[in-house]
């Protein structure tokens, strides 16, 4: 089935800004229907308009990725309106992601927030989209991080939840493969508001991050990361399954 003839329908969580917005715009450039699922209603609607201008069809739906009813409602809204779902991207992450912590002292309330958005969010999104992706032989992409491979001295809980997402995606690929659904993960390194905040909190971090990157720059969410996710959602990647793709310019020493 040619993608030029069928407008692919995808949902992206946490797409009201940052990497999620870049993924949405990259999918919009391919002419796809893109649902911006985010808690911030106004910002989500603005990104939906950007998707329109990029050549796709943008829609927005309010979604708290940590809340079962909210996720189920968002997915129901997508399928009710667009009639199908070909791909889903769980990109939303805790607002605490760039904030340093000490593993011996981190408040459990902060741990709960990280786990709720990233890990529970993966579970809730996966459970909600599964029947629709089976119907469309679609694909799920989970946004993880190089932190999930190599850990982070000052961001151990963030690293843990990103690692958990990799493990979930790898197992789901084996679980859903027999049903014709692919599951992959992407570990991006991109200039985002969260990365800017992390650099502000740790001024030496920018030097550390860039010094080991052979390309010498942070990725662009729309031009560098978004197309990788779009590829994994597309039929061009129909034999790619259970993989974590590093979209980080070879920054991470582990793959």
């Amino acid at each position: 089935m040619s993608e030029a003839k069928v407008r692919r329908v995808v949902l992206v969580t946490g797409a009201s800004g940052g990497v999620g917005r870049g993924i949405a715009l990259a999918c919009g450039r391919a002419g796809w229907t893109v649902w911006i699922a985010a808690r911030r209603e106004r910002e989500a609607a603005e990104v939906a308009l950007e998707v329109d201008r990029a050549g796709g069809r943008g829609h927005s739906v309010t979604c708290d990725a940590a809340d079962r009813e909210s996720v189920a409602g968002a997915v129901d809204a997508v399928v009710s309106c667009s009639g199908r779902l070909d791909g889903a991207v769980h990109n939303a992450t805790s607002g605490l992601s760039p904030r340093p912590c000490d593993l011996a002292e981190v408040p459990m309330a902060d741990v709960a927030d990280h786990v709720a958005v990233s890990v529970r969010g993966t579970y809730l999104v996966a459970a909600a989209v599964h029947p629709h992706l089976v119907e469309s032989s679609g694909a799920l992409v989970v946004l993880t991080s190089e932190a999930g491979f190599e850990g982070k001295a000052k961001l151990p809980v963030y690293a843990a939840v990103k690692g958990a997402q990799r493990g979930l995606a790898r197992a789901l690929a084996r679980e859903w493969g027999p049903e014709g659904v692919r599951v992959n993960a992407v570990a991006p390194l991109a200039a985002t508001p969260a990365m800017s905040e992390a650099f502000e909190r740790d001024p030496e971090m920018a030097d550390r991050v860039l010094a080991r990157n052979p390309l010498g720059r942070l990725g662009d969410a729309t031009d560098d990361v978004g197309p990788v996710v779009r590829f994994l959602l597309s039929d061009d990647a129909r034999y790619v399954n259970g993989l974590t793709v590093m979209a980080d310019g070879a920054s991470c020493p582990i793959t």
Partner: protein
């Protein structure tokens, strides 16, 4: 941490037969974590306060040279993720992650300068992981936590590594081909404990941030 300390090893883990067996195999004392009970109201994290209290108390105790952390998976039957209900999810994943964070946080505080920490985690081999998404997620989270500690504690000479064992999280029939060694999946008191001893020993003084799959050749990564 440079105050008074003992050689150890010390095992940190919940009151669980696996923890007791591992401690026995290592000749170690056990510092027991409080139980993480399933909760009636969805995702309430009612265990947060007891875990914080336990961690603060454990962190203030004497340092040891060798700390082993074991938080056994809540084993059920393999089940498709979409069929896992919220309470089961909370117990198998969120309770497990909270417990690992508290336990490794305490291990960081308890481990003396120049010492070693080993996390022992149930990990389904990738080939056999269908139906074990929760445990696969927790195992990879532990790997990232351990590597984070390897980075933060390395400057004071503390090494942090992971040993994985598959024996408790396998399907009834594993995927072909057969594992490399006929002893698969190995035993806690033999293959797993042996790998722990290896990583705690001075011979492993240059090894940190590493994951050793004590699964008889089932996982090569």
């Amino acid at each position: 941490m440079t105050g008074p300390h003992t050689a150890g090893p010390l095992v940190i883990g919940p009151d669980h037969p696996v923890v007791a067996e591992l401690a026995h195999a290592l000749g170690a004392d056990v510092d027991r974590l409080p139980p993480v009970q399933p909760v009636a109201d969805d995702h309430a994290w009612g265990w947060a306060e007891p875990l914080e209290r336990w961690r603060d108390r454990a962190a203030a105790a004497w340092a040891v040279d060798a700390v082993v952390v074991s938080v056994p998976a809540v084993v059920t039957e393999p089940r498709p993720l979409a069929a896992v209900d919220p309470d089961e999810w909370t117990e198998r994943v969120e309770g497990a992650l909270a417990t690992w964070v508290a336990a490794l946080g305490a291990a960081k505080a308890r481990c003396a300068d120049g010492g070693a920490v080993v996390a022992v985690v149930d990990r389904p081999p990738p080939l056999d992981s269908a139906g074990w998404a929760p445990e696969s997620g927790v195992a990879d989270a532990v790997e990232a936590l351990a590597r984070s500690l390897a980075r933060s504690e390395g400057p004071r000479g503390v090494r942090v590594n992971v040993v994985t064992g598959p024996g408790r999280v396998l399907p009834e029939r594993i995927v072909a081909p057969a594992p490399s060694l006929p002893t698969f999946p190995g035993r806690l008191d033999a293959e797993v404990a042996g790998a722990v001893r290896l990583l705690l020993a001075p011979d492993a003084s240059g090894i940190t941030g590493t994951v050793v799959h004590a699964d008889c050749g089932r996982s090569w990564r």
